[in-house]
């Protein structure tokens, strides 16, 4: 293989790779704004300039292809000076309003200014003023002054969605991004431009001014808005999910996610969420008393033992492990799942099937609930996934529900169900790829117990001879159970239950 030398390291590369690609593959950071691996090369920000021996001028690492014997310096005097020069230019007209900018803390402009910039300003000149607070559709706000004109957002609408809503407008230091369409995006993926924006020029109306990012807790998880299972980072603070952003996974969602999925966390923050277990106190439907978790579990064991029937009706957003235990507890009846089916599949990411683990449910022997039918256990994270007719028809003995509005009035025991943002588990996506969702410690009401633990205690309560299972035991059992259906369960480590912590903010952009 041909070899290139970067900062003294001799590195092999595949023909066609650019300097920045070789560097990234080998853990050498070359700063960049306009370059993004999912978009065409624009070569306009110039921050990635490096010194290439035998060329007089600094070269842009994002565009110049590696050649055999090429010698590159990313930290030489020429490269450092070029980079600092660009950094200074970028700040000439930047408003430096970091204290009120959502991007602060995860801003490449801040990062590189800190790493490569001049410590003092040489620009006591009036800044160029451009339009601020410009709505780009209903969900995005643009700030022309913060914008560094890297054109990532324009290239996204040109190349990825091919909907061409954005363009550069004007010229020189008056240049800015403009909307070419009539003020609204036609693509359901528009909000990806917020993540693509390396600075705070594009911000989300949904997340605007909600939190400084360094106060948030970030968890790597999976979107459960549909069966695609886009990989996401969930940002939460003080019991509320504040933001979801896509995470790169070339097999599932590349770098992107849809706007509906991104904004589909509302039920996690709903004021009507159920926070304590309930036990029905009288023969009359709907009369419940709030009880402790242990009392509720005891009541559930008793109620299930008395019940003449089994059967499960589960939201297809339930994890493989949860479905497995639901089946273990009430498996002598019919196993049914329910999910919403849309009509918005687009051949890109969005699929019609909205049950995040529909493939997993099928693999574990669950069948789609076609009509209302009785079931001993009901498991509902999203009320719209399991319609009221099905819930009422199930007439469950024990129910796990997220929202107080979905409590089945005839259930004997109701457990508050943590949302996907608060649970650990595995989901099989539309292509049969099994991926973990992870508990975000800063999300959801405090003191909710995982349904997996609750179900395990119920199982042990029902069968005194049963061997206790850990989460890992359940995963192992699931692995064997779904293998015949062609699902491969990866080795996944889940963090042990621990108090809420605040993690360092993860960078959103590549």
């Amino acid at each position: 293989m041909p070899k290139i030398t970067i900062d003294g390291r001799v590195l092999e590369f595949a023909p066609g790779q650019t300097i920045i690609q070789v560097a990234q593959a080998n853990g050498i950071e070359i700063p960049h704004y306009c370059y993004h691996p999912g978009l065409s090369v624009a070569g306009n920000c110039r921050i990635c300039m490096v010194e290439v021996e035998k060329t007089p001028k600094p070269q842009i690492a994002c565009y110049v292809q590696a050649t055999d014997g090429m010698v590159v310096h990313t930290k030489s005097a020429q490269a450092t000076e070029a980079r600092a020069g660009v950094m200074e230019m970028l700040l000439v007209n930047h408003p430096l309003d970091c204290p009120i900018c959502d991007q602060a803390g995860e801003c490449k402009l801040q990062d590189y200014a800190f790493d490569f910039g001049h410590p003092t300003t040489r620009t006591p000149v009036e800044k160029t003023h451009l339009p601020k607070n410009v709505p780009f559709g209903a969900k995005i706000v643009y700030d022309g002054e913060r914008c560094i004109k890297c054109t990532r957002c324009v290239r996204f609408t040109d190349e990825i969605t091919q909907t061409h809503e954005l363009s550069m407008g004007a010229r020189g230091d008056k240049e800015m991004v403009i909307m070419t369409s009539k003020g609204e995006f036609t693509t359901p993926y528009a909000m990806n431009i917020i993540d693509l924006c390396p600075v705070g020029a594009l911000t989300s109306k949904d997340f605007r001014f909600e939190s400084r990012v360094w106060f948030m807790d970030f968890t790597e998880s999976v979107c459960t808005g549909c069966a695609r299972g886009c990989n996401v980072t969930v940002g939460a603070r003080g019991g509320r999910v504040l933001r979801m952003t896509p995470r790169e996974n070339q097999d599932v969602n590349r770098w992107w996610m849809c706007d509906a999925g991104r904004l589909g966390y509302g039920h996690a923050n709903a004021p009507t969420r159920l926070t304590t277990p309930r036990v029905r106190t009288s023969a009359r439907a709907g009369e419940f008393a709030e009880v402790g978790w242990e009392d509720a579990i005891d009541a559930a064991v008793e109620a299930l033992r008395d019940a003449a029937r089994g059967g499960v009706l589960a939201d297809a957003g339930a994890t493989l492990e949860e479905l497995f235990l639901l089946k273990a507890v009430a498996g002598r009846g019919d196993l049914k799942y329910a999910s919403r089916v849309g009509q918005d599949e687009d051949g890109f990411l969005i699929v019609n099937e909205k049950g995040a683990n529909q493939r997993g449910a099928e693999a574990l022997g669950f069948a789609r609930a076609a009509a209302p039918a009785p079931a001993a256990l009901l498991f509902v994270e999203r009320g719209d996934a399991v319609p009221k007719a099905l819930r009422d028809g199930a007439d469950p003995v024990v129910a796990f529900v997220t929202d107080g509005a979905d409590v089945p009035p005839t259930a004997r025991v109701v457990f508050p169900l943590p949302t996907w943002a608060e649970r650990d588990g595995l989901l099989a996506n539309v292509d049969g790829i099994v991926q973990p969702i992870r508990r975000c410690r800063a999300a959801g009401p405090r003191d909710l117990r995982a349904p997996l633990e609750v179900l395990e205690e119920i199982r042990l309560g029902l069968d005194a001879a049963a061997t206790p299972w850990t989460h890992a035991d359940v995963v192992a059992a699931v692995r064997g159970a779904v293998a015949p259906a062609g699902l491969a369960v990866p080795e996944v480590e889940f963090a042990p239950a621990a108090p809420r912590t605040v993690a360092a903010p993860a960078s959103r952009t590549r």
Partner: protein, 437 residues
């Protein structure tokens, strides 16, 4: 017109003073399209290219790249059509030579385009004309319509197998669309953002097809070369330096002009070899009464400035580079002793800042920053460190961008700051210790 000076050679300008030379009825009896006929009937495309190579014709748009060599780069057997683009976006301040050609002898321009298209086997010619040149556009369109009616444009030209369309595309008022790849983007209907090279246009140009882009004046030379042979062309002007095998000299003739603070601004045609002093003082008539010439930019605004004492340089590509400037478009801008050089810098920096496409950070932000610094020095608010700041800005802008607009923005103002340092220092408060000029 001054006489007894360096002689004019009227090749391109032979019809400039002929009434109605823009019509086919006048132009054709005066020789128009004879070279096209000769090329189509008696020469292969390769032979035409060979004559152009022998002529050592260099691009008249500013960079002076050998035209024949450029043509030889065109990608062959790509399965795509080849295009010829004529760059008529003459938007360089001080340049007005292509306008004369298009308005006064449009048939020469069209013939040059057609012969060149034949040489590179192009199926169409796009003439991208500066939008502020409505007369040029009108004359070219008129000439093309006449030529088409006479079987000189379109299918089976002059009854041969060669077919070529010629289209006029008006620009929309951006200097950057004179940059060849910015022009291509604009021609495709996009913003005039220059492209990163490679790929070069000869491989992937307009509509991703192999494309040759030449200046109007460059291609207007081709009919004469076809008529008289490349060697006859190469005998004119400044021959190549025999000591330098890569030298191409400055052959043929060149339209040269003078504008600004002179008695007799105008446009003439010479064999390169005339000095800038002869051009400015002789044909240009020298300074206005009671004034002195302070500085001359030899070829359009984007070249470094020369002092009056430096004007004895020959108007040739290599000769002007040797004195730290460039021939550029060959149209000199003269500034006399009433011209405030700091204000000149404000004006030049403003122009380039305004015309920067906005793509690359150093150019987009740097040109305006330069303007702001020049502005405050001009207003008497200059800081003692401003000249050093400007030098570091020049360094941070030049050579750091996709296209050469940034370089063109730096060259003239840097030369002014260096050569007229005293004028800058005189405006600064508190006046720092004078250093240099």
């Amino acid at each position: 017109m001054a006489t007894g000076l360096y002689p004019q050679t009227k090749v391109l300008s032979k019809n400039f003073d002929v009434p109605n030379a823009h019509t086919l009825a006048v132009a054709r009896p005066r020789g128009a399209y004879q070279s096209l006929e000769k090329a189509l009937r008696t020469m292969t495309p390769a032979q035409v290219t060979e004559e152009v190579k022998k002529s050592r014709l260099r691009g008249r748009g500013g960079a002076g790249f050998p035209t024949g060599m450029k043509w030889s780069f065109v990608a062959k057997n790509t399965g795509k059509p080849t295009y010829l683009v004529m760059n008529a976006d003459e938007s360089e301040p001080g340049a007005f030579k292509d306008r004369y050609l298009m308005e006064r002898d449009p048939h020469l321009v069209v013939e040059g385009a057609l012969v060149s298209a034949y040489a590179i086997e192009a199926s169409a010619v796009f003439i991208y004309v500066r939008g502020e040149y409505p007369n040029s556009i009108r004359r070219l369109e008129g000439a093309i319509a006449e030529a088409r009616a006479a079987g000189l444009v379109g299918k089976d030209i002059l009854g041969t197998k060669f077919s070529c369309e010629v289209w006029v595309h008006p620009g929309a008022g951006a200097y950057i669309c004179g940059e060849e790849t910015g022009l291509l983007e604009s021609l495709e209907g996009k913003r005039g953002h220059p492209r990163i090279k490679p790929p070069f246009p000869a491989v992937e140009g307009v509509f991703r097809c192999p494309t040759i882009i030449n200046n109007v004046e460059t291609l207007s030379h081709v009919p004469w070369i076809v008529a008289h042979g490349g060697e006859a062309f190469a005998k004119q002007g400044i021959p190549p330096d025999p000591a330098n095998p890569r030298s191409n000299g400055s052959t043929g003739t060149k339209l040269m002009g003078v504008s600004g603070q002179v008695r007799n601004p105008g446009l003439w045609e010479f064999e390169p070899g005339i000095t800038l002093r002869e051009l400015v003082y002789g044909y240009g008539g020298g300074p206005l009464p009671g004034r002195k010439i302070k500085a001359v930019i030899p070829g359009g605004i984007s070249m470094p400035v020369l002092l009056d004492s430096e004007l004895d340089v020959k108007m040739g590509f290599d000769e002007l580079v040797k004195v730290g400037s460039g021939l550029g478009t060959g149209t000199a801008i003269v500034m006399d002793d009433t011209c405030d050089m700091v204000e000149a810098c404000v004006n030049i920096a403003h122009f380039f800042g305004h015309e920067s496409c906005g793509q690359c950070t150093p150019c987009r932000e740097g040109c305006h920053w330069m303007e702001k610094v020049f502005r405050r020095v001009a207003d008497g608010d200059g800081q003692p460190g401003d000249l050093d700041l400007l030098e570091s800005l020049f360094k941070g802008i030049e050579g750091r961008t996709i296209c050469f607009l940034a370089d063109a923005a730096v060259w003239p103002v840097r030369s002014i700051v260096r050569k007229f340092r005293g004028e800058f220092l005189a405006k600064m408060t508190p006046a720092p210790t004078p250093a240099g000029a």
